[in-house]
């Protein structure tokens, strides 16, 4: 073939303009390094500002582009990516997530003798990779974006390199992350091998492309190699989203990581895993021979995650560990939503809505944690450090109350709507056992979320004033927290804006 023609054809299929948000975020990340070199004196103030303003501009432009031009659908990059309403909403999700993590990082890193610029750079690169991941349609794309995310997290978790607990968390995450990557890769290889076997009818050399793989699985969904590969891929992702029995790393890593990174890990990394779950379980492995395995298996994992996360969180005194363990139960809810989505089409949007509601509510809580914690490792992380928080800072107390209430699923807040949607989806899919366990676990979770709230609002300690000084939050730093808390309340009453974005 003529070489020039070959490259012309390939170039024509690479529609770079479709991924302008990811390219902009990547360029923004690079520009931070340039700023550090050009104005080293100003970098600590300038860099977070540039990162946050840049991300806000990209987010607003993305939403405006939907209004102006609509959402594009279909394959691009010769099948590497697949544009859809789901991918677009996850793009918005990760942009908002990255934006708030930059703010949290700004708060957490302030006043510490630690490099700043690299934090924002890595957060931006990871954000761009997450956005691509949600639109992937090809195992090469999935793997390379997931690895970019994971490697970014290895660095971020051990970011406080002068604190042994942070390094220990980084090492644990590195080893278990490596294991999960191994499982995922092995599964991909088995699927590719099964799909490429020329002895089978309908074999394809494009086994890495999800659509081609699905076409193969329609005929050979019960093939041993394919089933083994599918299971390994799902287990590899289960590590990332931390559902039972792959949750073992959560408490230590969440505790050791800097608070901003804990929030990033708990919200965006989890959401990435669930975006993959949705792409794979409901779009690729949704052939009858495979759903007969995935539905019972994932249901069981969801049930155990719901129970394990809530029961272990009951006695937890460290707030970061508590958020991690309760995050496992939220992962159980999300997994239940994914299972429902196998049979009920709109349940995908219930999962996405739950992800958004989980993001806003947990960011409210993590935002408060970033202000309460001290500069030394472990300082201000225990539940007892929240004694009388409402008296010490009415603003932080209110935000914490809203966030925790929403996580627990109390009616006027957005968390309630998210849980209600998942329950309706489960009911329609006929998964009554999951529904029952979900309702039970909501009841358990209210217990520990309200315990935290009681400490913060009514405070048990005798000399509250003496032991726990008031916390001053300057006005500019109140704004993002107030916005997050406002959205959490607002979406609880009126879901139209988010529903319009999601196309519900």
């Amino acid at each position: 073939m003529d070489d020039l023609q070959y490259f012309k054809d390939a170039a024509a299929s690479n529609e770079w303009s479709l991924i302008w948000p990811e390219i902009s975020v990547g360029l923004l990340a690079l520009s931070l390094l340039v700023v550090e070199m050009l104005v080293p004196k100003m970098k600590n103030r300038l860099v977070p500002m540039i990162a946050m303003i840049g991300l806000s501009v990209i987010t607003v432009t993305l939403v405006l582009s939907w209004v102006g031009m609509g959402v594009s659908y279909g394959e691009s990059f010769a099948g590497l990516l697949f544009q859809s309403g789901f991918g677009e909403s996850m793009r918005l999700f990760f942009l908002l997530g990255g934006l708030f993590i930059c703010f949290l990082g700004y708060v957490t890193l302030q006043g510490r003798a630690i490099p700043r610029v690299e934090f924002f750079h890595i957060v931006l690169v990871v954000t761009a990779a997450l956005m691509l991941l949600a639109q992937s349609n090809h195992f090469v794309m999935i793997f390379i974006t997931l690895e970019t995310v994971t490697i970014g997290f290895y660095i971020l978790v051990s970011y406080f390199r002068n604190q042994p607990i942070s390094l220990e968390a980084g090492l644990k995450y590195l080893i278990l992350g490596g294991l999960s990557t191994g499982l995922l890769l092995f599964g991909i290889a088995l699927l590719y091998g099964a799909a490429g076997n020329p002895q089978l009818a309908g074999a394809t050399a494009e086994g890495l492309n999800l659509q081609a793989l699905r076409a193969f699985l329609l005929n050979h969904g019960d093939h041993t190699l394919a089933v083994a590969g599918m299971l390994l891929v799902l287990f590899g992702i289960a590590f990332k989203v931390a559902v039972f029995p792959f949750q073992i790393w959560v408490p230590d890593v969440y505790q050791g990581a800097p608070t901003a990174v804990t929030a990033f890990l708990g919200v965006c990394s989890k959401a990435a895993g669930f975006a993959l779950m949705i792409i794979l379980v409901t779009r690729t492995f949704n052939v009858e021979t495979m759903t007969s395995i995935t539905v019972p298996l994932l249901s069981l994992m969801a049930i155990f995650s719901l129970l394990y996360g809530n029961l272990t969180a009951l006695t937890q005194q460290n707030t970061k560990r508590l958020m991690g363990l309760s995050g496992i139960s939220h992962a159980g809810f999300l997994l239940a939503g994914v299972v429902a989505a196998v049979h009920v089409d709109w349940a995908v949007w219930a999962v996405v809505f739950y992800l958004f509601s989980y993001m806003f509510s947990s960011f409210a809580v993590f935002g408060v944690m970033a202000f309460v914690e001290g500069k030394n490792p472990g300082e201000g992380e225990e539940l007892i450090d929240y004694t009388g928080l409402y008296q010490r800072s009415p603003f932080l107390g209110t935000v914490l109350g809203i966030g925790l209430g929403s996580l627990a699923g109390i009616p006027p807040l957005v968390g309630f709507i998210g849980k209600a949607l998942v329950f309706i989806a489960l009911f329609q899919a006929g998964l009554y056992v999951l529904l029952l366990v979900g309702a039970l676990s909501v009841a358990i979770s209210i217990f520990y979320y309200f315990g935290w709230m009681r400490t913060a609002f009514f405070g048990d300690g005798p000399d509250t004033e003496k032991d726990y000084p008031a916390i001053e939050v300057p006005l500019p730093k109140r704004v993002p927290l107030a916005i997050i808390a406002g959205i959490t309340v607002f979406l609880g009453f009126i879901q139209v804006p988010l529903a319009a974005v999601l196309g519900l």
Binding site: Y6, F7, D9, A10, A11, S13, N14, I19, G26, A29, K41, N44, R45, F77, A78, L80, L81, Q110, G111, A113, I114, P115, R116, E118, H121, I122, V125, V126, A128, A129, L132, V140, M141, I144, T145, E147, T148, I151, G152, Y154, I155, S158, Y159, R161, G170, G196, N197, P198, Q199, L200, A205, T224, L225, A228
Partner: protein, 173 residues
């Protein structure tokens, strides 16, 4: 001849892989790992994937294992450590072995493995020859290559960040 080569290389790979686990000296284990990697490279050559074979030697035998050796020699843990197998490790190994056995058994006699000679892939797989590999890498797979560039960038920054003993940064707010 090809059959003999395959069995020879497979035995070499498996034998040396076993020795990696079994040898008590860390340096010896790393050396056996090189043999394992070379054996796998030989198997790639038999499959016609010459480029993969070269990469296997260059990257794994040439760089990764040498790095292992550096670390082992720098650490110098002083002689042979005796690690007794625990109940958990024995159980885990047995479980892994049973799974492997199950996998092998489930394919023995399967219809797709009866006639290996006739199977010929119609399309050239990626990585079979260097030219096709490069062509695909810089046309169809250009986007993943770009992402990989960012991956390497943050990996590099991360290594510097975590390993460098940075001065106390001036605190300006």
């Amino acid at each position: 001849m090809l059959d003999f080569l395959f069995y020879f290389l497979a035995a070499l790979t498996l034998g040396s892989a076993f020795m990696v686990v079994a040898s008590r000296n860390a340096v010896n284990a790393a050396m056996f790992l090189i043999v394992t990697v070379a054996g796998v490279a030989g198997l790639f050559v038999l499959l016609g994937a010459y480029f993969l074979a070269v990469l296997q030697i260059l990257v794994y035998a040439g760089a990764v294992v040498v790095l292992f050796l550096f670390v082992i020699m720098l650490l110098d843990d002083g002689g042979e450590a005796k690690v007794k197998p625990t109940a958990v490790s024995i159980g885990a190994s047995l479980a892994a072995f049973m799974l492997l056995l199950l996998g092998v058994l489930s394919f023995l006699g399967g219809p797709e493995l009866v006639d290996t000679g006739a199977a010929q892939a119609t399309e050239t797989p990626i990585g079979a020859n260097l030219q096709e590999y490069g062509r695909q890498l810089f046309s169809v797979y250009l986007l993943p290559v770009q992402v990989a560039g960012f991956l390497l960038l943050i990996a590099m920054i991360g290594v510097i960040l975590i390993s460098k003993r940075h001065q106390e940064e001036a605190l300006e707010e």
